[in-house]
Symmetry: C2
DNA sequence: TTGAAAGCGCTAACAG
DNA sequence: CTGTTAGCGCTTTCAA
């Protein structure tokens, strides 16, 4: 392995100078810097992150803690985070709970706290007071993406407004019988988004004086399959069918779409369906939805963390991220 | 920050003993070990990975290099890798090219070679000779998942056999007019899987003496939307329609399904559709497919790497991973 | 502008 | 079974 001393020897300067030259620090003459750069290049020198981390206290790596990788929103955020980090020369360390909370304690202690990361981005998860304290001790800047968490700043869309816009769009089309396909708190984790969306739905319906029926409230667990099953059951058993379904996520909306198809219910003729996300499949499935951009959210949040590591003042209360209504073929006025 | 000396002081032993005790090494009396463990626990001591990495030469982290995170197969593999690593106390560092090859050189030099990882798992990507050499220099065990790569062992299904099984299933149902919805080499990366599947398709058709028509070969780029568009175009313009479509991935098969629906072509009445993957949505979409388990593949590959790091003999040629035909509603005999 | 030297926190011989 | 002693490769004062 080529180490800094090799470069120093090749250039006939000290390792201190090599270090300074390579990191672009001031106080190195142009000539020396050029020679060092060249030698490093030729020798194929790459600094050891362990050594520089140990010496400087900065690891040049950021951690992302998430409940599950294999879900559209999470992996899209991850992609954005990675993009941002990569351009800043940071590495991305992923801590997934793999859909359960089982090894959570271990993840926290054995991994996150190992002084391996300079900052932590937490996705859609409540963190406990104890965990929060551990993080404070590490003095790593922390941020949450995709769901508000008590006591920690977060980056996400304004869920309340997004839901409101979706439901009011249905209302503006003339719908009054609107069902809600709800998400849930799987993953063995507390997960605030479903609750916020539920409340926003109820609030909007109430605001417009519309009835909310118990039998029109179905649980789809944020999943395609579960949503399909639940909607089939609802549509088959209900005393009166709704004319529209507001779905708390696109994946569930896909389930609703398939449920309608399998029952021979036409969309949007007999039933309008709207989602939230603008999942990659929403366009080809013709789903009307509220678009959000998880990649941008991830990149933005990572950017805030990076800025802090550069010594900037922390942004205490990041602005809500944008969302937009995307009209596609799954919504129309109710049958008269 | 609590460091090893604090634990040593609290226990009145040397740091060497603390280190040994904490890592479960032999040569520590039960009593001492217990006291050390207790003190470490109480003080909230967590070893610094940079320091232990520097001293021992092992980082306890594994890297995964992939073209893109946000794709079913890739994120599912990642999930499996993470699970395996977590249980071995290893961390997962993700290097995504974000769908392009643009920053590839940088990823390699600034990140992978920084002596931050003990082993590297490469997903579905060709690595260049130079890159391969860099890795050899690092002496990090390497493995490829999800596609064979020249000169590097890989973990994946037997693509040839899987495709053969899919196509022969269609043939066994009586189909003779079979289209192929092909994947492609996006991401600016060489990606061998689509070619293997193409060849296997042609081979199987030839073996059964069936015609392959140019106009039935459509390119879906492994994506839902592109596939839908391409299939609509094919079905509308073709002189004679195929009675079945073999799709090189489930996501493309979904596109084919939607294409058929939007043209009013019934599935499986007029058109049978089969995919490969058993994507999470395949079940609720009723798609017949060849199942593979990316999570298991990732976990298995990571396990091989871990075993090597433990000093085991490398498995030079990992066995192909299992695949199974899953019959669902999208396939039936052709219309007579 | 440069170099010497002292660590960063841990592990790994080698003694005892 | 335990302690002492060198480092691991880099950064960072402090001098020159």
């Amino acid at each position: 392995m080529v180490i800094i001393e090799d470069v120093a020897a090749a250039t006939r300067v000290s390792t201190a100078t090599v270090s300074r030259a390579l990191r672009g620090l001031p106080g190195v003459s142009d000539g020396t810097r050029a020679r060092v750069l060249l030698a490093a290049q030729q020798l194929g020198y790459v600094p050891s992150s362990a050594a520089s981390g140990l010496a400087s206290g900065r690891t040049m790596a950021m951690g992302v803690l998430l409940p599950l990788i294999e879900r559209w929103y999470f992996s899209a955020v991850l992609e954005g985070v990675d993009r941002q980090l990569r351009s800043a020369g940071y590495d991305l360390i992923v801590f997934s709970l793999g859909g359960t909370g089982i090894n959570r304690e271990r993840v926290f202690h054995r991994s996150i706290l190992r002084k391996r990361i300079d900052a932590l981005l937490v996705m859609c998860m409540e963190i406990t007071t104890e965990e929060h304290l551990s993080l404070r001790e590490l003095e790593s800047p922390t941020i949450v993406v995709g769901g508000s968490v008590q006591g920690v700043r977060h980056v996400s869309i304004d869920d309340d407004a997004a839901v409101c816009e979706a439901v009011e769009y249905l209302i503006s089309l003339g719908h009054t019988k609107i069902a809600h396909l709800r998400g849930g708190g799987s993953y063995g984790l507390y997960f605030e988004v479903p609750r916020i969306r539920e409340e926003a739905f109820l609030k909007t319906m109430a605001k417009h004086g519309l009835p909310v029926r118990e039998e029109w409230s179905v649980f789809g667990d944020f999943r395609f399959k579960e949503a399909k099953t639940a909607v089939i059951e609802m549509l088959s058993q209900v005393t009166e069918r709704p004319t529209a379904i507001f779905c708390s996520s696109d994946e569930m909306a896909f389930g609703a779409l398939m449920a309608a198809a399998s029952l021979g219910v036409t969309v949007p003729g007999e039933l309008s369906i709207i989602g939230i996300d603008d999942h990659e499949f929403a366009d080809p499935m013709g789903l009307t939805t509220i678009r959000q951009d998880p990649g941008e959210q991830g990149a933005y949040a990572a950017g805030l963390l990076l800025a802090e590591l550069e010594g900037m003042q922390p942004v205490v209360c990041p602005p809500p991220q944008p969302h937009t209504l995307i009209r596609r073929g799954s919504t129309a006025p109710p049958p008269r």
